[in-house]
């Protein structure tokens, strides 16, 4: 992280929009709620980080961590189509489209596959059609 949550909040007060929205910090925040839970001023910092990411996306700005945004988009793209997550499709696309070298995690990926933990086909559920509607109505 370049700033950390405390400085990001200060930068918001100082309206340093460009610096914040370009930063990696907002994409590296894992949403663990540790800072939000312990904040003496009771600021929901994790929600602030969510809001900042959503502003970047709404404005069509480039993300400070390109692969993080790609990951979220692919994950949701799969959920939108099949109603549930489907690792094989998502991981395959991520491998091809991300900056992460393609050989990274290939070993673990293969071991997960051999253990039956990455099903090739998505689960067939009637949820898919309704979930597509939810995506449409949530735009």
């Amino acid at each position: 992280m370049s700033y950390g949550p405390d400085r990001i909040l200060r930068m918001i007060s100082l309206d340093q929009q460009q610096e914040i929205l370009r930063s990696r910090d907002i994409w590296l925040c894992a949403g663990c709620y540790t800072c939000a839970t312990r904040c003496p001023n009771d600021i929901d910092i994790a929600a602030v980080m969510d809001a900042l990411r959503q502003i970047v996306v709404a404005r069509g700005n480039p993300a400070g961590e390109r692969d993080a945004l790609l990951f979220h988009r692919l994950f949701l793209g799969v959920v939108q189509r099949v109603g549930r997550s489907h690792e094989a499709a998502m991981l395959g696309l991520f491998k091809v489209l991300s900056h992460v070298p393609i050989y990274k995690d290939m070993g673990s990926g293969a071991r997960l596959f051999l253990r039956g933990k990455v099903p090739l086909l998505p689960e067939n559920t009637r949820a898919a059609a309704e979930v597509q509607q939810i995506f449409k109505r949530s735009r």
Binding site: L28, A30, G31, C32, Y33, T34, A36, T37, D44, A46, D50, A51, R53, Q54, V57, E65, D67, A68, L69, L70, F71, H72, R73, F75, L76, V79, G83, R84, S85, E87, L91, F94, S98, V100, K104, D105, S108, R111, L112, R115, G116, K117, V118, P119, E123, T125, R126, A127, E130, V131, Q133, I134, F135, R137, S138
Partner: protein, 292 residues
């Protein structure tokens, strides 16, 4: 007792042994889990990162399914539990948000469903004495630290479970199975969660610290309650001597003497069998008697 059951996507894929051990142990305890028909993904980290309405509407659809079933909703995955509680909390607290989510999810919120983490159901409905009655193979000699991660206990106002700084429920459950749960200060530290795929370096460093501290505490293994944590603990731990990690439900199955348990160990990326063998906790029933 009968419950509605939301397994979540992980319990059918990367967290397969969580789903298998949950279903086997509940069956053994005589507790019926009715999987919600046609449940959908909760949206996890990605939905709340990109789209606020979507992040509440996706779990809300599952709440609607649970409302119809009129039973407590049990969730084994910490992330799913967190998202369903978040949707419930948002709709309970604010009528405008509620109207917005109801419209997006196509449902009417009644607020009548109790959303409960699997761990709470085990501790409260089965109870520690109830667990002890089912133990046929006490996990004697097994030294572990309990690892909660974030989403089961934070944010406390939303998830309303256990103590976010010094959680007690999982240690009590695992102790009642006969294992030794060691004190440490990192039970609710973050493993890096969903950053794992894009920034493996960060997660490897967080998990490395967790493993080091667990070893310092004298642990032979982690016990976890979250498929994302478990995945990171197994996949991002480096070095020669890796600490295995169990789901607490797997330890329940082991202590209950369930034969299915043998199939769970083969699903792990860090094989826990050498440890279990060294303690005489896997093997033929004859050995079991000798150990017990």
């Amino acid at each position: 007792m009968e419950y509605s059951y939301y397994p979540g996507c992980s319990a059918h894929s990367t967290g397969l042994e969580l789903g298998l051990s949950t279903e086997a142990t509940f069956h053994h305890l005589g507790l019926k889990l009715n999987e919600l028909p046609d449940w959908n993904c909760c949206g996890a980290t990605s939905a709340h990162s990109l789209n606020h309405t979507l992040s509440l509407a996706l779990p809300a659809r599952n709440l609607a399914l649970a409302q119809e079933a009129q039973r407590d909703l049990v969730i084994p995955c910490a992330a799913c539990y967190n998202r369903l509680r978040s949707a419930d909390h948002a709709m309970r607290r604010d009528p405008n948000t509620r109207a917005e989510i109801e419209a997006a999810a196509g449902m009417r919120y009644t607020g009548a469903v109790a959303i409960r983490p699997l761990l709470a159901v085990v501790a409260e409905d089965v109870g520690l004495a109830g667990l002890r009655r089912h133990v046929v193979r006490p996990l004697a000699g097994l030294k572990v630290v309990s690892y909660y991660g974030c989403l089961l206990v934070r944010p406390p106002a939303v998830v309303q479970f256990d103590n976010p700084d010094d959680p007690q429920v999982m240690p009590a459950v695992v102790r009642s199975l006969g294992a030794e749960v060691l004190p440490w200060s990192h039970a609710t530290d973050c493993c890096g969660g969903g950053v794992s795929l894009t920034r493996a370096d960060i997660v490897a460093s967080l998990v490395g610290t967790l493993a080091e501290r667990a070893r310092e505490a004298g642990a032979q293994a982690f016990v976890s309650a979250c498929p994302l944590c478990q995945m990171n603990l197994e996949m991002r731990q480096h070095g020669k001597h890796k600490l295995p990690s169990f789901y607490f439900t797997e330890l329940m199955g082991l202590a209950f003497g369930l034969p299915e348990a043998e199939k769970w160990w083969t699903k792990h990326l860090i094989d826990p069998r050498p440890l279990l063998r060294s303690l005489g906790l896997v093997g033929s029933p004859a050995q079991t008697v000798a150990v017990a």
